[in-house]
Each structure stands twice: as C-alpha cells, then as structure tokens.
C-alpha cells in the first residue's frame, strides 16, 4: 500500500506534536511516565507511516535491522545499572550520531540532491554525526573505565583539531562544487571521526556531565541536518528539539561549575593563585571520628541533610543511605538530600540513584532550595562529594574554583564527611571544610561507613 506525500507529512506533524507533549510531560514527575509513552507513540506513528513511503520497495533489510537493533536496545535498557546510566546515555548519543551519519551517506551516494543546500546539509550531517559517534565512544570508554578517565592529550593537539575542522569545512565546500566525489566524502568522514576522538580525549572525569550533555545536543543537530538532506520535516523538528535540550543542559552544567564551555572543552582548570599546601590546611585540625560517635550526634539531631556525590555511586551506597535515613526518620529526625547540579557523572544522576533506592523525590532538593536551610541543619552528612562543598569557591578569590556555586554544608552545626582519605577531588585542591571546627571526618568505605552508622544508631 502506498499513500501520498501529504498524508505522510500530516502523520509526521502528529508525531512531532506527540514528541512535544511527551517532553512537556517530563516537566513533572507525576506526568513523566505518560509523557514518555506519548513520545513513544509519536515514534510509532512516524515509523509506521514511513513504511508506506513509495521509495520503500523491499522490507527484508528493514526487518532484519529492526530486529537486531531492537534486541540490542532492549537488552541494554533492561540490564543497565542505574550507576552506569551515564555510560548508556553516552553510547546512545553515539549511536544517534552514527545513524544520522549513515543516513546522510546513503543520501549522498544515491545522488538525489545535487543542490547546494542538500550538499551542505549532507556535509553537516556527516561532520556532526561522525564527531558525535567517535566522541561518544570515547566518553563511553572513559566512563566504563575501559580507558583512563584522566585528561589525555599531546602538544599541538589544539592545532591538529583546528586543522581537522578547517579541512572538514573545505571538504564540504569542495563537495558543493563537485558533488560526485566519493574520495572527498570519505576524507571528510575520516577527518570528522578523528576530530571527535581528539575533542573528548582531553576531557577529565568530573567534566563528563558537560560532555554528555553537549554530545546529546550534537546527536539532535545531526538528526536535524539529516532532515534537511532528505527534506523531512519530522527529522528537522525533532532533531532541533533534542539539540535545544542538550544545549540547555550543557549550559546548566557549565554554570554549576562556573566555567565557560570553551574552558571545559579546551582548557584545564584555571591555574590562578599559588598552589595551596595541603599539609598547611589540614595539619592538626582534622578530627577523626567513629561510626558510634556519629550515631550519637544523629540521635539528638532535629534535621539532617545528606549530600551525595559521585563517591556514593561508586560505592553503590544508595540503598544503605536510604536505610540510614529511614532509621533517622523513625527517630523523629527530618532528613533531606542536597543535590548539586554536577554531582555524579551526568545531569540528574544522583536523583536517579536515590529514586532507585526508593527515596521520595520531594526530599531531593536542588542547590538553590537547600542552601538557605543549612543554618537550621543540625548535621550535614557529606558522602563522596568534595569540590562541590569546598568553601574556597565562596571565600578565596585566588582559588581556581572561586565563584563556583557550592552547597554551603559548612553552615550546618555539625558536618560529617565520609571519605576514604584526605585526597583532593577533581579540582586537585585541599578542602578547608575538612579542617573546620564543626567538621568530623569518618574515614572509610562509603557503604561500610553508612551501614556502621545505621547499626550503631539502631543499637543506641
């Protein structure tokens, strides 16, 4: 059966509306599940109607591809651990970029669009698609710890990147003048793929939230470019929605680190001021404590705020934390969670982990909501977070992290920091919080320490 292009376009319009309603649903936890289903329905409409397109003459390849992709996708979605969500999203970003790349390549070799706009769009889809694909694979490898998460690079890397980018643009220009040159096409594809690798390799672990958000945006823009190539409204609209989404998240992440996007992508941390001597900050001022002592403090606390960081995810301690919170609540203590925007390895990562541990979402407070309450908080428990609690960001104008918004945990009456050692966080700075008069350090494995506190609290 075949239907006219008009009907296909109307169906695409319906699916675009469903996507928009779907994203709108995501603005509230209550409507979010339904929103996701609406978006999925939109995808269903778009796919079914496309199968009736007159250019489609055989279905064998399509069926094979959908089965292979569907099985892989379903397995990934079912098996992934919540702690590994950043890796999965990185991988899916990459696949999205790869798909747009392949679609643009197919359109190029079909030679259907010799006009200037079509060729430029093809070039853009190939460039952005390939950068997204290889860049995301590097991000995935770093997050999965297949390769070292530390920044990697070589002298002159920026020059090489600039040359690759200029070369890609020149290649697109050449294709506009000579549309039928496959060698130039492949040269463009290879340059873009290498560029993607080199752009993400120098970016370190704690900057991953920015990179993932940015690659998310790229995958949308690549889809949009593919839409320009094919003259397909569904792709254009949907791709730009996703592109906008990624850009906003990127912006939020950058703001939460008080760094510009260029600084994250091309700079290391700013090297303002002289290096602080760790011994000088900590010497003689660190108070080490025990689980029993912490339990005694918690027993009389009216209000406790838990500050989770990436260490919580690493230790898989989210369920243990929930147990501790339950015990305190049974004791009549008010418990809330303070979530810094860049806690974890992707936007919202901590919220998902705590939701998995069945923490009610109205107890997860963002930075602006929780900061004014620390002064009325008896105990703040910092679990695997470091730089986002460092008072230097507020007080020391010479510090590289000065100006970064932080959680004001030091304003709480007592601060308990659960940490393996005094080692610095990603910024490589000592944290004067650890040396404050009202801070107690509980050294040990995050999960073990939390379990010990809970046991002591129950016995006490």
């Amino acid at each position: 059966m075949q239907i006219s292009d008009n009907w296909i376009d109307i169906a695409y319009l319906i699916s675009a509306v469903l996507f928009i309603l779907g994203i709108k649903g995501l603005t509230k936890p209550k409507t979010a599940v339904r929103g996701n289903l609406l978006a999925a329905a939109g995808m269903g409409v778009a796919c079914v109607v496309t199968l009736l397109h007159r250019d489609i003459v055989t279905y064998e390849i399509i069926i094979a591809g959908v089965i292979v992709g569907g099985v892989i996708g379903a397995i990934l979605a079912k098996k992934v651990q919540m702690t590994a969500m950043p890796q999965l999203v990185a991988l899916l970003n990459g696949f999205g970029g790869g798909a747009s790349f392949a679609v643009a390549a197919a359109e190029f070799f079909r030679g259907g669009h010799p006009d200037v706009v079509g060729i430029i769009a093809t070039g853009a889809a190939v460039l952005i698609g390939a950068v997204t694909l290889t860049g995301s694979l590097v991000a995935f490898a770093k997050l999965q710890e297949l390769i070292d998460g530390k920044p990697m690079g070589f002298p002159g890397m920026k020059v090489v990147n600039a040359l690759l980018l200029i070369g890609s643009v020149v290649a697109i220009g050449y294709l506009v003048a000579n549309p039928g040159t496959p060698t130039v096409f492949w040269a463009l594809a290879i340059a873009a793929a290498v560029l993607g690798l080199l752009l993400v390799l120098p970016i370190g672990g704690a900057d991953m939230p920015v990179v993932i958000a940015l690659l998310n945006s790229y995958s949308g823009i690549a889809a949009s470019a593919a839409g320009f190539v094919m003259g397909n409204s569904a792709l254009i609209v949907t791709g730009s929605l996703v592109g906008a989404s990624g850009l906003i998240l990127t912006q939020i992440m950058c703001k939460a680190m008080n760094r510009s996007l260029t600084n994250v992508l091309f700079g290391v941390m700013a090297e303002a001021g002289e290096a602080m001597d760790q011994d000088e900050v900590y010497e003689g001022k660190i108070k080490s404590t025990s689980a029993e002592e912490v339990a005694m403090v918690l027993e009389t606390a009216q209000r406790v705020v838990i500050v989770p960081g990436f260490g919580l995810a690493m230790a898989q301690a989210q369920h243990a934390v929930r147990d501790l919170a339950d015990t305190m609540e049974a004791n009549g203590t008010e418990v809330e969670y303070a979530i810094h925007p860049v806690a974890g390895r992707m936007p919202g990562h901590m919220n998902v982990l705590l939701a998995e541990a069945e923490v009610s979402y109205d107890k997860l407070k963002d930075m602006d909501a929780i900061n004014p309450t620390f002064e009325q908080t008896d105990v703040a428990i910092v679990l695997g977070a470091n730089d986002v609690t460092n008072p230097l960001a507020r007080e020391d104008k010479g510090s590289p992290i000065y100006g970064m918004p932080i959680l004001n945990v030091d304003k709480a009456k007592t601060v308990v920091v659960v940490k393996r050692s005094l080692s610095p966080g990603f910024a490589g700075l000592p944290n004067p919080l650890f040396a404050k008069d009202n801070t107690l350090m509980l050294f040990g494995d995050g999960k073990g320490a939390v379990v010990d506190i809970t046991t002591a609290l129950k016995e006490g």
């Binding site: 998310n216 919220n351 009610s360």
Partner: protein, 91 residues
C-alpha cells in the same frame, strides 16, 4: 519542501525546545536525556527509506547500519526512560 520553510521549522522548533526544556526540573534531567536520545532516534525514518530502497547495495548497507543504530536508540531509549521514571515516587 523548500529551504526557507525547512529553516523556519528548524528555528521555531529550537525556540520551542528551549521553552519546554527549561521547565524540566533537575530531578528529571537524566530521564530527559535518555528520553531525548530515544526521540533523536527519529533518524530511523530516514534509515527505513534508505534500507528499503532499490538504489543499490551500498545504499542498502548504509541503510541497514542506520536502522540498527537508530532502533537501538529508540527501543533502548524509551525502555530505559520508562524504567527510570517508574522509580520516581512520592511517599
């Protein structure tokens, strides 16, 4: 569709996207990302046309690759988003 209408759609959709996404609370940022991953799997539409056309082996191979990758995005993205969102409860 001519270039100017395409561009119009593109620009308007970006503005709409910005308006919508700024309203998504930080709590839901991870599902937002996996959900938008799924939605960007819309490339599947282009992939289906390439995979099912009679334009030659190379086109079909590229189309097949695109169908596989985009389907992983669509199925994986929507399923994992659903799994995550089901965890967000108020007690």
């Amino acid at each position: 569709m001519d270039f100017v209408s395409q561009l119009t759609l593109f620009v308007l959709a970006i503005f709409l996207g910005v308006e919508l996404i700024t309203k998504v609370p930080p709590t839901l940022h991870t599902p937002l990302m996996s959900g938008s991953n799924a939605i960007s799997g819309i490339t599947l539409v282009g992939a289906l046309i390439a995979a099912g056309s009679d334009a030659g082996l190379l086109i079909n191979v590229l189309g097949f690759i695109a169908v596989v990758l985009a389907t992983i995005n669509v199925i994986g993205g929507f399923m994992v988003t659903n799994r995550m969102l089901a965890m967000f409860k108020r007690k």
